[in-house]
Amino acid sequence: MKQLIELNINGRNYEVAVNPRDLLIDVIRKKIGLTGTKKGCGEGDCGACTVLIDGKPELSCIKLAIACQGQKITTIEGLAQEDGSLHPLQQSFVDHGAVQCGFCTPGMIMSSKALLDRNPNPSPQEIKHELSGNICRCTGYKKIIEAVEAAAKVWSQEGVK
């Protein structure tokens, strides 16, 4: 039995018909058409599907879409400015060569954003601990950590939101 629900994604309301069993990742990608969020393992291990729900990093592959009504969902598409200029985290990933195949990148950036929103000045160890749920199979972790560290500097200086 499909039900009509409203999801708030990147500040915009979307009305979608879902089954209770429909997962947030599938609704975001297939029904709403925001394909920046990636589906990797489907078991909550790889972090590719990470989105922010009320500012907290959550795994959209093990989250029911119907359970997200009334919450603010942010995907990678919600980070860039309206004029297309990149969010400092995105820019930092580009500048530091932290993107290889790119599949893990949206999840990495969403987890990093949640970390920097909570703690704009994390140590490398904290960055590693907080990003440990995001797996990169190109093994570009070093540059990813550097990119987050560099973004953190901009963050604390300019107070990015």
Binding site: G44, S111, S132, G133
Partner: protein, 293 residues
């Protein structure tokens, strides 16, 4: 795999939740964080007829931790909230530390303390320090509440002492005794996103002389079907001042009590070795912390 069809409910109060639970009983599953439940459902290991999502119930999301009054933690308090709560960090550092070592940041923001207990995995992190701290669980149904020590609530692998129509609603943690300390340690193959091969918590209280052990509780995880509370360690150490020889004897006693199995994460032999190492380390650490050294 795709999950089975189910009916979805999102109650807003404990009373509504218990009413639904009374109506559907074992046909229903409670959804808190879903980090275990969704995976079991996706694999079709379980196919509940209805899912009761408790994330709208504010009462299940509260932490009460006032000075001198222990703490009451709602069943759906997220592990990340326990990791970052300054009040809990100060009073129950072993619990905050254990919560912060579960899975990943994403898992910790989704998963709940109640879920980590009710999933009843022998390798679960938080039941070990909770048991060491003397935590009681409150089990609620439409006919009322009852309390049970946590180690009696988890009865085996994925088995709980829950009656039909009952659910865990909150944890009651006693106020730590003066001159006491509780610490947690674990061992796994890697640091992140791993499941512990052994975990352990020790809660130790000193007598007013600040030297003699009044009471020690050592709890082991991942070496028994449920959290294993050592009987021998308190028998050996209560009433004693800690000397190196006693630490060795106590660690060996804990090792003797552990009944680990071989599995993908570690061999039983390795686990037994690690029990001894962690026991030695934690007894020393908690003794020093209780003394205020």
């Amino acid at each position: 795999m795709v999950m089975n069809h189910f009916e979805y409910f999102a109650p807003r109060t404990p009373a509504e939740t218990l009413e639904l639970l009374g109506r559907f009983g074992s046909k229903a599953k409670i959804l808190a964080g879903g980090t275990d439940l969704m995976i079991l459902m996706k694999n079709r290991a379980i196919q509940p007829e209805c899912v009761i999502d408790i994330n709208q119930v504010q009462d299940f999301r509260t932490i009460m931790c006032e000075p001198g009054q222990g703490a009451v933690i709602g069943t759906n308090v997220k592990l990340a909230e326990i990791q970052f709560s300054e009040a809990l960090q100060a009073k129950y550092p072993a619990l905050s530390y254990a919560a912060g070592e579960v899975g990943s940041a994403q898992v910790r923001h989704m998963a709940s303390l109640g879920g980590n207990t009710c999933n009843a995995s022998p390798a679960a992190e938080t039941p070990t320090p909770l048991a060491a701290l003397g935590t009681k669980v409150v089990l609620s149904s439409q006919s009322g509440d009852r309390e049970l020590p946590l180690e009696q609530f988890i009865t085996g692998v994925r088995q709980l002492g829950l009656n039909e129509g009952e659910m865990l609603t909150r944890f009651i943690l006693p106020e730590p005794a003066p001159r006491s300390a509780c610490r947690y340690a674990y061992m796994g193959r890697r640091d992140a996103m791993e499941i512990d091969s052994v975990n352990m918590a020790v809660n130790l209280e000193l007598q007013p002389d600040g030297e003699t052990i009044r009471n020690i509780k050592l709890v082991m995880g991942s070496v028994y079907p449920r959290p294993l509370v050592s009987q021998e360690v308190p028998a050996l150490l209560n009433g004693q001042r800690l000397i190196d020889e006693l630490i060795e004897t106590a660690a060996a006693a804990a090792q003797g009590e552990a009944k680990p199995i071989d599995d993908i994460r570690a061999t039983a032999e390795y686990r037994r070795e690690i029990v001894k190492v962690l026991a030695r380390r934690l007894i020393q650490e908690t003794y020093a912390a209780a003394k205020g050294v």
